[in-house]
């Protein structure tokens, strides 16, 4: 049976914890809004890029002599997984979910006899996978010092990726990240980056005159320039969704932590009051029975 003092201390400490989780929740909510705005602001570029790619795709006759970024190296032996997680924890299952998906993919690929290499973006995923798959790590990208994810960061990752590809270090690259469905759901998602999957041409809209495009310079040249950009764009999108998802997950986790702390305070306060009452009753009985004995 804890003493009254113990109970008081515990209530005080849970209250302090609740203050912290509450503050973290509010910070996460504010940052989530910013992250969401950034994700929305980045959408037009990705959409226009897709439209142009679809357009090029429709005009591209044969894939012969096309960039290996598009058709692949002709092999399917070495797979590179880019695992994108957050830099911080305290966000429920956010990092664990991506790490679990990565594990599944690694096991599945290894079972097929493929070589797997890993490129980690975000410290938490690296921590989670280091023990089992540390030997597969190629590089880890640490974004802890970055306050607001910009296109430059995505470009940095894309550049490393392309350098590795040029050196023939892998054949297929897949990006694993948390897709931001909505504030309540983040879904671990895999997207194949190399060889690139071009979007299909949009269905021809008959209501407006469908124009035949001219290209300056040739389609192939534009495509060669565009494919690396597209990779950077996709990485950028994934990064933004990841950040938004992280704050959403953290907000939810901190919300339930705050609520749990509230419940705990209630239960503890009830117990505290009961034992205080019992203590008083006990003392009264002692005084009265003492008086009666006289």
């Amino acid at each position: 049976m804890p003493s009254l003092k113990d109970l008081r201390n515990r209530i005080a400490s849970v209250k302090a914890t609740r203050k912290i989780t509450k503050a973290m929740q509010m910070v996460a909510a504010a940052k989530l809004r910013r992250a969401q705005e950034a994700a929305v602001a980045a959408r037009p570029y990705a959409e226009r890029m897709n439209a142009v790619l679809a357009n090029l795709n429709a005009h591209l006759g044969s894939t012969e002599g096309a960039s290996p970024l598009l058709v692949g190296t002709g092999r399917d032996k070495v797979h590179l997984l880019i695992v994108m997680t957050a830099e911080r924890g305290l966000a429920g299952g956010f990092n664990t979910n991506v790490a679990r998906m990565a594990r599944q993919q690694i096991r599945a690929l290894q079972a097929q006899g493929k070589d797997v290499k890993l490129l980690l973006v975000g410290r938490k995923g690296a921590d989670a996978l280091r023990r089992d798959y540390g030997g597969l790590f190629q590089e880890t990208v640490d974004l802890r010092a970055v306050r607001q994810i910009g296109y430059a960061e995505a470009q940095g990752v894309a550049r490393r990726l392309l350098r590795m590809f040029d050196n023939g270090e892998f054949d297929v690259a897949t990006l694993l990240f948390s897709e931001f469905k909505n504030i309540l759901t983040q879904k671990p998602t895999a997207v194949q980056l190399i060889p690139a999957r071009l979007p299909d041409a949009a269905p021809v809209d008959n209501s407006e005159p469908h124009a035949d495009y001219e290209f300056e310079p040739e389609e192939e040249d534009i495509l060669r320039d565009l494919l690396p950009r597209n990779i950077a764009t996709q990485i950028y999108r994934a990064m933004l969704e990841n950040v938004a998802g992280f704050y959403a997950a953290q907000m939810a986790a901190m919300d339930s932590a705050t609520r749990n702390a509230g419940d705990m305070i209630e239960a503890l306060t009830l117990r505290y009051n009961r034992s205080r009452q019992a203590q008083i009753t006990k003392e009264l009985i002692e005084i009265i029975s003492g008086a009666e004995a006289l």
Partner: protein, 136 residues
Amino acid sequence: MAETFKFELVSPERLLVSADVGEVLVPGSEGDFTVLPRHAPVIAMLRPGVLRIPEMSGELAEIYVRGGLADVGPDKLVVLAEQAVPLGKLQREFLAREIKEVEDLLAETQDEDVRRLAVDTLERLLSLRETLNLAA
């Protein structure tokens, strides 16, 4: 201006300009060109340079763009630029960083095509710096 078309300038981070205009000067990789309403549909790569929109006032009239392409249709122009900064806001440090990036690329790459492009880009950036009088 009687006729206008829809003009959008998009960078990866945001939509910079979305307006109806009558005339835009685009720095294309094969040469600069002016887009007027009812232009033939073209997809053109951009060179690093300055995009001019004569009708716009203030800082959006001249915008430095690098890396990207222009999607021209009869009633629209979409410019996708990896970098887009209003000319007035162009800082010496920013330009220096851009130049350094190209120089690094040049030092690193062996690909002839990339090399030629990089040399070209570098020259344009240097001359831009010259004209803007931002040399360190």
